[in-house]
Assembly symmetry: none
Homo-oligomer: 204 residues x 4
């Protein structure tokens, strides 16, 4: 393979990845809006101005599409969390930041939020991978959380449940958040973080 053909191939690969990414983005949007089962492959292809058949160059099946949306979305959430984990902030601030960042992701990027509801619809073997990834997310969050409350005396149940309470409060946001509302995601994040962490402090 000479230089030219290499470049050419590379170029095509990029085009391919771009398109695939674009497909997943739109698919996620439509799944979020209509629900996975109600959304048809034609809905997705129409939105992208391609034909149903073309879609199948980029994805293997409708379920594969949902699966990849999930993984991409979870990947985003995880990355946001890891950035925060690896930052130089003091533990309490890390938690604060983590909450805000997650809310930002969940409300703005990639319809992450709405997808959170649709794991059920994946075939088992895909579900397992999604759950594994979701667990990874929760593990990181729990780590940040634990460090933030290290000084306080809480039993294990308490810790885990409180963490879930926080995640629940956050993950529920897409159910009532509207992009047209008065508050920006970041503002909501600030207020939520204040409330959710404030609760912790009151216990100390």
């Amino acid at each position: 393979m000479n230089m030219k053909s290499f470049e050419k191939k590379n170029f095509r690969q990029i085009r391919y990845e771009d398109k695939k990414s674009q497909i997943l983005k739109n698919a996620a949007k439509i799944f979020a809006k209509k629900g996975f089962e109600k959304a048809t492959m034609e809905d997705v292809s129409n939105e992208l101005l391609m034909t149903k058949g073309s879609l199948y160059h980029y994805i293997k099946s409708k379920e594969d599409m949902l699966f990849q949306c999930h993984m991409k979305a979870l990947g985003m959430s995880i990355r946001a969390l890891e950035e925060t984990l690896n930052s130089d902030l003091p533990p309490r601030m890390k938690l604060h930041k983590a909450i805000i960042r997650h809310i930002e992701v969940i409300t703005t990027e990639f319809v992450v939020g709405a997808l959170r509801q649709q794991e059920l619809l994946l075939p088992k073997h895909m579900q397992e991978k999604v759950i594994k990834e979701r667990d990874k997310f929760e593990r990181i969050f729990l780590k940040i959380f634990r460090e933030a409350i290290k000084t306080e005396h809480s039993n294990k149940n308490n810790i885990k449940m409180t963490a879930y309470a926080i995640l629940g409060a956050i993950n529920w946001i897409p159910r009532w958040y509207s992009a047209e509302g008065k508050l920006s995601p970041t503002q909501i994040g600030e207020m939520m973080a204040d409330y959710l962490i404030g609760k912790l402090e009151s216990k100390g």
Copy 2:
């Protein structure tokens, strides 16, 4: 119509309502487990040891079934809330109780929790009614909440958002709650309530 036939009809009505109720209960269970679209009418009828056709003596359509499940589930939640609202407890305790009761309902009764995810799948005119009912629920909750924190100075955004945070934390529970876990719904309720409104109480 003589006495006898009247009674007979009445008896039939009861049988009818019983059966219908039983159908909805089972349907909800299956919708919760497989998702509305993946669940077939045959799944539902098999579970009830009847045939697909018979189902239609009791319900109008599959969507109607989901709709009624929703309404029944929301009705339960609302009733639990109203009982609390009308009780003689002090405001702070009412909120505490409301949270616990809602968690109990959501984790034990009628698969209420899982259904919360599936409003999307109803046709618009049904969705509206469900949303109206859900709003009713939230209004009552908000009322209890506001009375509980009356003495504190919070702006409107704060209040509503905090209420949503609480509801989110609760409504998310079915996503991680397992009936086989160590903690009972009531225990979870206690701990959640402590975390979510503990500070309020410490101040109150």
Copy 3:
């Protein structure tokens, strides 16, 4: 279950089996004419004056249909062979009769012949069952054959290969046999048998 409902159920079962049988018969005919893959479910349903969907009350899939055609056809061949095996004819005559009967089956009944070509198209797990059944057929034929030539000294390879030669000559018949031709299946059978085992008889 009272008498009436029992009868009713029985009646329905019979109707069901009848219809299924009819479906398989027609399907086999169409598969034989157009080939399995070229034949569409619509072809089959049209021929039967039903809708595509109705077909699926009786069969699980297109492949299932082909599979059942195979089994039914093989069953016929085997039954014809067993009748001959269990008859009181002398061994030589049994073989003679077996050949004729098989030719009759293969040319007249149920398009057995044409199907013989299409095992390939079944998924592996079905193929195995068909092959098992086909082996059963060949075992019986071989038994009849061996008994017919017991007195002659032949090595094992010879015997098996000769049997296959005979089966091949027969199974190939549907490729050139035309129902409009001058000779009836039975006549063809007589002549074939004469040629294929004539020498044996002259010796016996």
Copy 4:
């Protein structure tokens, strides 16, 4: 066109024919293994380490591919037969040789055998040409056959049918022949020929 470009073109033509031949060979193999309809153009191109698109430089369509496979295979069979016909052997030996040669071709070369099953799948106008070629094959075989039994008194029906019996016995071989078996194609040929011609002699 100067000398150089002429040679160049010639060279290209050869390359082209080579590639085409190779494509047909592989295609036939795959058609034989999976069946024409189950085999995809991608199966074929993968086997050849090219892309789907490239295939179309060499063949016009998938059906055209099957067609050419058929013609090539039949051509082989015919050539083998003609060689035998034109040889100096005595008539009886010619028939003997013809049978053996045909078995050799059918079991070793070019998957001829398996293709024999798939004429059905060609569009009518191609089918006709294949049938014409197949008839040519049968005519030559019949000629050899007739000369071999000239001295014997047989009616016309007898002759044709016996010839078909022989062809059937042979053409069925690929259904049970396995390249790993103990007997070589030639050995099988010898035994088959002995049996099939032996039968004839017994009638004389």
